[in-house]
Structures are given as C-alpha cells and as structure tokens.
Symmetry: C2
Subunit: 242 residues, 2 copies
Amino acid sequence: MNLRTQLKRPDGTILKIVPEPTLKRLPLYHRFLKEWELAGHKTVSCTDIGRDLDLDPTQVRKDLESVGVAGRPRVGYILAQLTDGLEKFLGWNNINDAFLVGAGSMGSALLGYRKFEQCGLKIVTAFDQDPAKIGAKIHGKHVLPLAKLPGLARRMQILIGIITVPAEAAQAVADLMVEGGIRAIWNFAPIRLHTPERVIVHNEDLYCSLAGLSQKLSTTLQTTPQESGFKSKATTIPSHSN
Amino acid sequence: MNLRTQLKRPDGTILKIVPEPTLKRLPLYHRFLKEWELAGHKTVSCTDIGRDLDLDPTQVRKDLESVGVAGRPRVGYILAQLTDGLEKFLGWNNINDAFLVGAGSMGSALLGYRKFEQCGLKIVTAFDQDPAKIGAKIHGKHVLPLAKLPGLARRMQILIGIITVPAEAAQAVADLMVEGGIRAIWNFAPIRLHTPERVIVHNEDLYCSLAGLSQKLSTTLQTTPQESGFKSKATTIPSHSN
DNA sequence: TAGATTGTTAATCGATTAACAATC
DNA sequence: TAGATTGTTAATCGATTAACAATC
C-alpha cells in the first residue's frame, strides 16, 4: 500500500485516506443501487453501475474497494451488502448536527433539503443577524440571533457550520463558528475564509463552478457547432486561444 | 506543447484546453485582484495572490500563463492588465442568456444571484410546472409554463439551461431543454442526466459534496482531536479504516 | 549590483485506465 | 467447461510542485 494513502492516528492506528474524487462518486453509486433494488435485482456488478453512470467499470471497482465489501467473480456484489457498506462507510448512520447561518434564499433552500438527514447531516437551527428574521421558523427550524451561536455551539457540541450569508459577512460568521468550537464549515459565500488549521473549510463557490461550465460550453460549441437553423453566435464566444 | 492540451476546431485552428482545476481558480484570482485594487495597488505578484488564497505561487503563475498576460520579473503583473485579461479569458464580457427551470427555493436563490451577470450569465426567464407559480415574478424574472420552454429556447437561441427541480422531474426537464437546442445544462438536481453527446452537463450535486465534507471532518477529528472541555464524540464517527 | 519574480522545463505525485490472474 | 467479473498490480495520464535560467 502506498504510504500516502495512510495517515497515523494519535493512537497509532492507521487511517486510510480515500481520494476525494472517489468519495464524491460513492453517493452516486448508492443512489443507483437504490434504483437497482427497486427494479428487483439482488446483485449488482461494476458493469451495471458504470453503464448507468457513464463511468469506467474498472474505476467503479477501484472505488468500491475502499468500501471494503467483497464481491464474487461472475456474480458481482450482493446488493444489500453493498448498500449497507456504502452507508456505513459514508457515515450516514451517525448523524452530525449542524448550524446554518444566513436565513436568506439559499439558506432556506438548504433548510428544505430533507434528504441531508439520510446522508448524516441534520441542520438543527438557523441563525441570522436580521431582527426581522429572528424568531421565525423556516422549514420547521428556528431562526436565532447570530450572537447566540458560539455559546450554543459549545453547549450542543456542534461540529458543522453552514454559511449562506453574503460574502461581506462571511468571515465574521466563520470567526463566530470557530469561537463556538465548530470544526467544519460548509461555505456557500463566494469568498475564501481564513480559519485556524484545525478547522476545515469546504467551499461551494458557484461562481467558480460557473467558470467551469462556461468553458465546457465554449469548447463544445467550437468542436461541435450548432445545429443548422441557428444563426451562429460563435463570434460572440471567446476563443480561449492566444 | 502537449498534444492533449490541444484540440482542433472544425476550421483547423487550435483550441487550447485549460485544465478544469486551473479554471476554477481563475475567478478566485479575479476576486482577489479587485480587493487588491481597492487597497491601492497598481501591480500584483503571484506571491501576493498565493499568500491570500493559500496557494503555491508557482501554481498561480502556471495558471496565469493560460490567461496570456505577461508579467515582469521583480515587479509582477500590471493589475489592470491582469484583471482585464482574466475577464476576457473567462468570457465575462460576452453575456450568455440562460433559462432556469424550477421556481422553488433553490431556483429563487439562483435568480437572486445578481453577480452572475458580471460573470457572463444572465438568467432571463424562469419556468415551472406548478400553475400556482406561473405568472409570478421572482427577483424581477417572469415564471412561464414549462411547456413553452422548447419553443422559446429555439427562438431566443438560448444555450444554457439551469435545472432546480426535484430529482424525479429533472430528466424530463433536461429532455425539453435538449429539444429546445440548449447545449449546456447546469444541474442542481441530485441525479445524473442522460443527454446527447453534444450537450454538456455540469452537475452541482450537494449530496456528493457533502460526502467530501463529512470525510474531511472525520479525518481531522481523528488527526487533531477536539479541544478539552468537550466530551469526546469520537466513537460515533466512522473510522474509515478496515 | 543584488535579489525578487517571471517564464519554462523537469520531477514528482496522485488518479485513472489497462492488463491479467484468480474464481465462481 | 467457458466466460463474465472480481481483485490487484502495472502503465499511463494529467496536475502539482520543484528547479533554475532570464531579467528587471
């Protein structure tokens, strides 16, 4: 085993690190497995999964290796075993409570994502600075004044914070979260946060994502031009060549 | 130059492909440059950028290479030149019109993201199936019946579609978008879409992203345990080791 | 001049893909 | 048995990081 896929825990045991790309694919596999189950199957092969998700079966197999469920040649994996294994591996059985700050439209949207709970995340309370929002309930969750966050986070041992405030306010919110002992921040504000090393930040920056989309679009347009019947807009699209 | 970073356009000219990781960092640089400008600077070095964003200066330099703006040793880049170069390169000067389908909370949130327009994306109209929503205006944009999408998309030459409907409805919406000639889909529904090859799909799957966050959290918790004063919750966190 | 920084090439690292033996 | 599929090792590919000459 490659040394870089291992990490020593304080107690000396080995912690296996799964590559992030792999990790982001596992929920897709789980989703497919649930469908596959509904279709009446009892077993599943990497070929089945890869066909639906348009992934190389070898990659699927490699990914599933981390989950630690054994398959059988010519048969594949027992569906129930693999589903359970994925859930266990992804930690979906142990629900983490989370605080959300910023009861605007993005915040409300996330508060309404019911399936987060099935994926180990339970947003228990929302916070906001706006007196007009405080006291309200959004999707069944209370909106509390921001100032109460640090104390409550400590008392309730909250480890995850979600930031859905405007960019200008995000750093101050992050500081409060750190003060409250929060260890992971899911940041939807378009700004890079500065936090102590022990706090991990997971950025969901839609503007960066949009840049990816735009380039993919102009690449396909230049490679596979539009269907006839369109007036070409090609000249309005940057060429990305120098 | 590596062959794999090139792609031939139909007219035979060369299209340079920028790695996606690089592309997603460019907006961060742009954002920093705007701040740096406000602070009164006229030039900027890769070291300055890397310091703020916590990135290797070499990587920043490599990234900026694709933008095609020349810097000067010991001085850095002329701030205005680099900002302009980034905007031009990212295509932020050529606004693409987009349709959004699904006027729920996530859809509303995106309709309210004003800065998308500065990044080349203008959501011009929203669509929904729900008669209760049709006819309303959200953040100044009309909500039209879904059935009108294909015709309007063709007539208005819309190339980008945004999907913010529940997973069950997403594939049907994608089909309508394809029918309307849309070439790029920004998909916020937690499901993989099946589309013709000429249509690119950019998935914004929060459940997959959450999996990344959870693992990062349990990794740090096992590496850097909680501050004292906390009752350890370590046993409730999956070990990810086999 | 000295030294910081660019531009560019080479080395490293990590993830994907290919190859293939084992096996049901 | 034959052949599909797993498990695993090796090869490839692409992105990051290091090295270093050029230069202002």
